[in-house]
């Protein structure tokens, strides 16, 4: 046992550290409360323990121990379900919901983080196991932390599209952003209020892949949700007129976001929209196919 103490200990330490490092929370990454942290830290610890005992178990010819990894995978899939269910339940109380796609994306990330923890712990313990050099294994742990961060970094909207301020105006009762139709607003006082307090941006996709990604309704809902999370909204349950809306220009495929934020600041809105994550489930790549490339020119 003693001969593996350092190996397993270091694996668990680096794995748990990796989980803690990936636990940064910002406006879109739940958890935002202590109970959530405790849950994820404990699961991270378990993942780290599993990762670091794998190699010593094999060295001891305890092959059955490896099957525990399969059990772990099952466990972490459960994490994903847990996150999905709790976020979906919370979503019902949101004025501007995150939407299914966004929730699925967040839930998936939480599952993946545990696998990254296993890999980090496995790498750390393996290096110590083979070299008997704790410092080197700690360094490996940090290297894997860096790799994990790289892997966790998804694309943002700013990478696939250009975001610029749009002009809100009415054509009769029809609200438009530049040439893109948003909705029909009946009440004259609401129209005035929208013109006074509303903001709009237009999102120009950089290529055909970006265009089809942006046309996904889940992606659009995520844009509306992030804009609201950052700038607030004047919408209340009895003023559906102020609901943020994301509509497309059917001819050229650009996207317009209209919202009535609590803080009217166009620079902030552009910055917020540029940082909206591109959802994994919304990503499309027609340009990777031959037919898509033919259509593009």
């Amino acid at each position: 046992m003693e001969q593996y103490g350092m190996t397993i200990g270091l694996g668990i330490l680096m794995g748990t550290l990796a989980r803690a490092y990936m636990l940064r929370s910002d406006y879109r990454q739940y958890p935002g409360y202590p109970h959530g942290y405790v849950t994820h830290m404990s699961l991270g610890f378990i993942a780290a323990a599993l990762g670091s005992v794998a190699l010593p178990a094999i060295a001891e010819k305890e092959f059955a121990a490896v099957t525990f990894l399969a059990l772990a995978a099952q466990q972490f899939r459960e994490v994903r379900n847990m996150e999905r269910e709790s976020l979906a339940a919370l979503d019902e109380a949101e004025l501007v919901p995150r939407g299914q796609d966004y929730i699925e994306g967040i839930a998936r990330v939480f599952e993946q983080r545990n696998y990254l923890v296993i890999v980090t712990a496995l790498a750390t313990s393996s290096v110590n196991f083979f070299t008997r050099w704790p410092l080197l294994s700690i360094l490996t742990g940090f290297a894997f932390l860096g790799v994990s961060e790289y892997l966790m970094k998804g694309k943002i909207l700013g990478d696939i599209a250009k975001v610029e301020a749009g002009r809100l105006h009415f054509e009769g009762p029809l609200l438009k952003v530049n040439e893109i139709e948003i909705m029909n607003v009946g009440l004259p006082e609401m129209r005035e209020k929208i013109l006074r307090d509303g903001l709009a941006v237009v999102i120009h996709p950089k290529d055909d892949n970006a265009r089809s990604t942006l046309h996904n309704m889940g992606q659009r809902q995520a844009i509306a949700n992030v804009a609201t999370a950052i700038l607030g909204t004047k919408k209340d349950i009895d003023t559906p007129e102020f609901t943020p809306m994301v509509r497309k220009n059917i001819d050229i495929g650009s996207i317009a976001l209209f919202c009535v934020p609590a803080e009217k600041d166009i620079e902030s809105l552009v910055a917020a929209v540029e940082r909206v994550p591109v959802l994994e489930s919304a990503r499309r790549a027609p340009l990777k196919t031959k037919a898509g490339r033919i259509a593009a020119d």
């Binding site: 009769g172 009762p173 029909n184 607003v185 009946g186 009440l187 004259p188 006082e189 609401m190 349950i237 009895d238 003023t239 559906p240 007129e241 609901t243």
Partner: protein, 60 residues
């Protein structure tokens, strides 16, 4: 149940409407927007201008 529901009609033009939705007849545009605004607020719905002197109240 359909997702979008037509809840009521507020009209200046008696000829333009009919059917089994609640219809509110009004005589001025001010009255029309006031009535429509109140109804929309009460029912947490939205007012749309159909264009021919008719406002519809739709729950989205």
């Amino acid at each position: 149940m359909a997702k979008d529901q037509l809840l009521a009609v507020v009209t200046l033009n008696k000829e333009a409407v009919g059917g089994d939705v609640p219809i509110f007849f009004v005589s001025t545009e001010e009255e029309q927007s006031r009535v429509a605004g109140t109804l929309a607020q009460v029912m947490k719905a939205m007012v749309h201008d159909v264009g021919n002197g008719v406002y519809i109240i739709v729950k989205h």
